[in-house]
């Protein structure tokens, strides 16, 4: 990618060949762990993304549920049935289908939150790096202040305020947006800091000066010229951030202030299942927990590899 940023418009037939030759692809294929992580992430993303079509049951359609099926053990144990491979929960919902839908919500929340945090952080970062002055001071000090508070506390705070402001009846429907907002707002400073420092470097380079001399406005310079060149570390941060956002969502839901049990995420499933740990119905909490761990681990490994490959400075 080095040097490619100066001609962002060029794309064509040779692109695929160049891509395969690229050192990014090379480093990917030469790290088996990364390939495994990518496959695992891909499988989880596809399985959950297509959950409404792929899941063997409709766990949230009450017409298909029977309470008498509740607490069915996983298929390989005595009393299990192949109808419910991973068993059922306390309401008779198929665990596998519930997990697929739950992970889908976790990933949607994680993705949206990172997108929000990234947009906000990168925007403020480029602006403050490029403009400098009082704007930079205000934004960066705000970021510093927020960084001294653990992200999950900030998310809890925003979540709590939103819960207080919104009418109770709408909590179930609006909760997903509240959580996206809470997590997104809690992790913009990371993006802002990295982008600002990258912008400070870029704006002293000749291509920016050249652009400025041709009379292009500052907005265009920031968006068309600087932004593409600061995106590398941002991409790395975003990948790691996705794993963190999924964890943050699970934490909120586990604490009971996240997704409601009617539209559960992985964290909600783990919390609800926790009630049955002492009575021996371990599968209700264990399987969602395993999926969460696997998903986060895989995304983290991808993020690590991306950091090594894209941004040696961050190593």
């Amino acid at each position: 990618m080095s040097g490619a940023a100066n001609d962002p418009g060029s794309a064509g037939a040779g692109a695929i060949r160049r891509l395969l030759d690229h050192d990014l692809v090379y480093s990917f294929l030469s790290s088996p762990l990364t390939v495994v992580a990518a496959v695992v992430t891909g499988v989880i993303f596809i399985a959950t993304g297509l959950a409404p079509w792929l899941a063997p049951h409709e766990p949230f359609n009450p017409a298909t549920l029977s309470l008498m099926d509740a607490f069915t053990v996983p298929a390989w144990m005595d009393g299990g049935t192949s109808r419910y491979i991973l068993g059922t929960d306390d309401l008779g919902r198929d665990m596998l289908s519930t997990i697929m839908h739950g992970a889908r919500i976790s990933i949607i929340v994680g993705f949206s939150a990172v997108m929000l945090g990234m947009t906000l952080g990168v925007g403020l970062g480029v602006l403050s790096g490029y403009l400098g002055g009082w704007f930079e001071i205000v934004v960066m000090r705000l970021a510093d202040i927020q960084l001294t508070i653990p992200g999950i506390l900030v998310a809890l705070l925003i979540d709590g305020i939103a819960r207080g402001l919104l009418p109770r009846e709408q909590h179930a429907d609006l909760m997903i947006y509240v959580i996206i907002l809470a997590i997104g707002l809690s992790d913009w400073p990371q993006f802002a800091r990295v982008t600002r420092s990258a912008t400070l470097v870029e704006k002293r380079l000749d291509y920016v000066a050249a652009a400025r001399l041709t009379g292009i406005g500052p907005m265009t310079i920031m968006i068309r010229h600087i932004l593409p060149n600061v995106m590398r570390p941002v991409l790395v941060l975003a990948t790691v951030g996705l794993a963190l956002a999924i964890i943050a969502e699970a934490t909120l839901s586990f604490l009971g202030v996240g997704m409601p049990p009617t539209t559960p995420s992985l964290g909600t499933l783990i919390r609800v299942g926790g009630d049955f740990l002492y009575s021996g119905e371990w599968w209700i909490t264990l399987f969602p927990a395993l999926v969460l761990v696997t998903l986060v681990l895989a995304v983290n490994l991808l993020g690590d590899w991306l950091r090594d490959a894209l941004d040696p400075k961050l190593r």
Binding site: L67, L91, G274, D275, Y278, S279
Partner: protein
């Protein structure tokens, strides 16, 4: 030289450290999912709240652990004429602050319990006046004869008149308005324990009242009671399993086996006098939370019947209650006067019939409504709600569940702001269904937000207190239940079975009103 000086100081410190704990305190630590709503003894007539009051306050007539009436602040009572009950008061009793207890306190407390913001008005109903004959004799004058009066007032706690006046709490706390008063965080009764610390929803600490008159009758050995509500089920059980608490009022049903199988712990079980049911607002013109506008689906008997027959109560018993419930046909638990086994039969579970009834009533595609449910009051309350939501969904009724803390749930019912709700009802003070009718099915009943109003039932309810012959009275109650059941005012679910989990060092009798009284407890060290 210096060394000697220091060692002298060290010896002193050691002496102090090791000398003090010689007299070990017996501390009972217990937990339950929710806290008492208030400490004001006349503000909320709710199980856990009354349980907390019972440790500190006393009524005139109490109950022993077998639920029989027992003298408390009154030593004896008798009818002096058909409308007058005379109570002889216990002499030499003092409130926790040292003020002596006299007839003036009784008169004051009955007035307070009968005032507007009191939740114990039903317990003082029919009382025309309470008069002090002398310092230790009180006459309670009634509108009409009531043989059950001593039962009816077993939850009317006696407060100190002087203390209430000094602290500006002559009126009970208005709980519906979430009023803050001195009496909701402080207590001054005559009972076996004194309040030391009150942090609502965090912890409440009581200490032994060495001056309590009843120590020879109930020789408990508890010096200190520490109560800490724990809402999370698994955390609650973990606290018991790890020995962090000695007594757990509401162990999750699924964990009883585990508690029984743990050495050093035991469980006790008894059928509780409490029935869990669902109520529907059938009186309002249009439901607040439904997609049906301009009419109320619950006003149609066929819809109520469809909802009833959609409930698979056996599945709830087996999967949600782990067998610890008795399917109910009406809202009177066994053991309460007015329970007729014949009336306790349920309509059959039949989702196909339920669907047909809905279609017949003009809702072939069902309708939507919100179900209000407490999540820290009854055994597995939220899970019962989740289960019935699924069952209603199976017949096409889309129920949106709002499960919240009891302190937010109960005001919705009292203020008549709910379309569809879950509630549990017992008759722990009177052990008689008369109040159940009066409060739940009379058109003006304080706990009847269903809008059900049947003049015939109202007349029968009002006539109940006049009927003194027990058999005739029960026959009338059975007749009343038939009317209420035929109208499907409520969707009864089950009678609760209660179970307590505790350390096997603790000896305390389990009581069917689910209100442990620690004056009966002995804790081995």
């Amino acid at each position: 030289m210096k060394v000697w000086k220091y060692s002298g100081a060290l010896a002193l410190v050691l002496a102090v450290v090791f000398a003090v704990p010689a007299q070990a305190e017996t501390v009972l630590r217990w937990s339950s999912q929710g806290d008492a709503l208030t400490l004001d003894p006349h503000s909320q007539n709710e199980g856990p709240t009354v349980t907390m009051s019972l440790q500190m306050y006393e009524p005139l007539v109490g109950r022993d652990s077998s639920m029989k009436k027992q003298p408390a602040l009154a030593t004896s009572w008798s009818l002096t004429d058909p409308n007058t009950w005379q109570f002889k008061l216990r002499q030499g009793v003092a409130f926790h602050d040292g003020t002596p207890f006299t007839a003036a306190d009784v008169v004051f407390s009955f007035q307070r319990a009968a005032s507007d913001s009191s939740d114990f008005k039903p317990n003082t109903k029919g009382i025309v006046s309470v008069e002090a004959v002398d310092d230790f004799t009180v006459d309670i004058v009634l509108e009409m004869p009531n043989p059950l009066l001593p039962d009816q007032i077993t939850n009317v706690f006696i407060m100190s008149k002087a203390w209430a006046e000094a602290n500006n709490v002559v009126e009970p706390q208005d709980y519906k308005q979430q009023e803050e008063t001195y009496a909701i965080r402080n207590a001054n009764g005559t009972g076996p324990f004194k309040l030391e610390l009150r942090e609502p929803d965090i912890r409440t600490v009581l200490v032994r009242n060495d001056e309590w008159w009843g120590l020879s009758r109930d020789p408990h050995n508890i010096d200190r009671i520490e109560f800490r509500p724990i809402s999370n089920k698994a955390t609650r059980v973990a606290a018991l399993l790890s020995g962090e608490i000695d007594f757990l009022l509401d162990p999750p049903l699924q964990d009883l086996k585990r508690i029984d199988g743990t050495s050093g712990l035991k469980t006790l079980r008894v059928n509780q006098m409490r029935t869990i049911f669902l109520g529907m607002d059938q009186g309002v013109a249009e439901l607040r939370t439904s997609n049906v506008k301009g009419k109320n689906p619950f006003a149609d008997l066929r819809v109520r019947r469809a909802m009833y027959q959609a409930i698979d109560i056996e599945a709830i018993r087996e999967k949600v209650m782990r067998g610890l419930s008795i399917p109910a046909g009406f809202v009177v638990p066994p053991g309460v006067n007015g329970h007729t086994p014949a009336r306790d039969a349920r309509l059959p579970y039949d989702p196909a019939a339920a669907k047909a009834l809905l279609a017949d009533a003009g809702y072939p595609d069902g309708f939507s409504v919100r179900l209000d449910c407490p999540n820290n009051r009854y055994n597995n309350d939220e899970r019962i709600c989740q289960a019935v939501v699924g069952m209603f969904g199976a017949i096409g009724v889309d129920v949106d569940l709002d499960a919240i803390r009891k302190s937010l749930h109960f005001p919705k019912i009292e203020n008549r702001e709910t379309d569809f709700y879950l509630l549990g009802w017992g008759a722990p003070s009177t052990l008689d269904a008369q109040l159940t009718f009066l409060l739940l099915t009379h058109s003006k009943g304080e706990w009847n937000p269903t809008g059900y109003s049947n003049p015939k039932a109202d007349a029968l309810i009002e006539a109940l207190p006049i009927e003194l012959d027990l058999d005739k009275r029960n026959a009338k109650m059975a007749e009343l239940w038939k009317i209420v059941q035929d109208d499907i005012v409520y969707l009864p679910l089950h009678h609760q079975v209660i179970s307590w989990g505790m350390s096997d060092k603790l000896d305390i009798p389990i009581v069917p009103n689910n209100m442990p009284q620690f004056r009966w407890a002995r804790l081995a060290s």
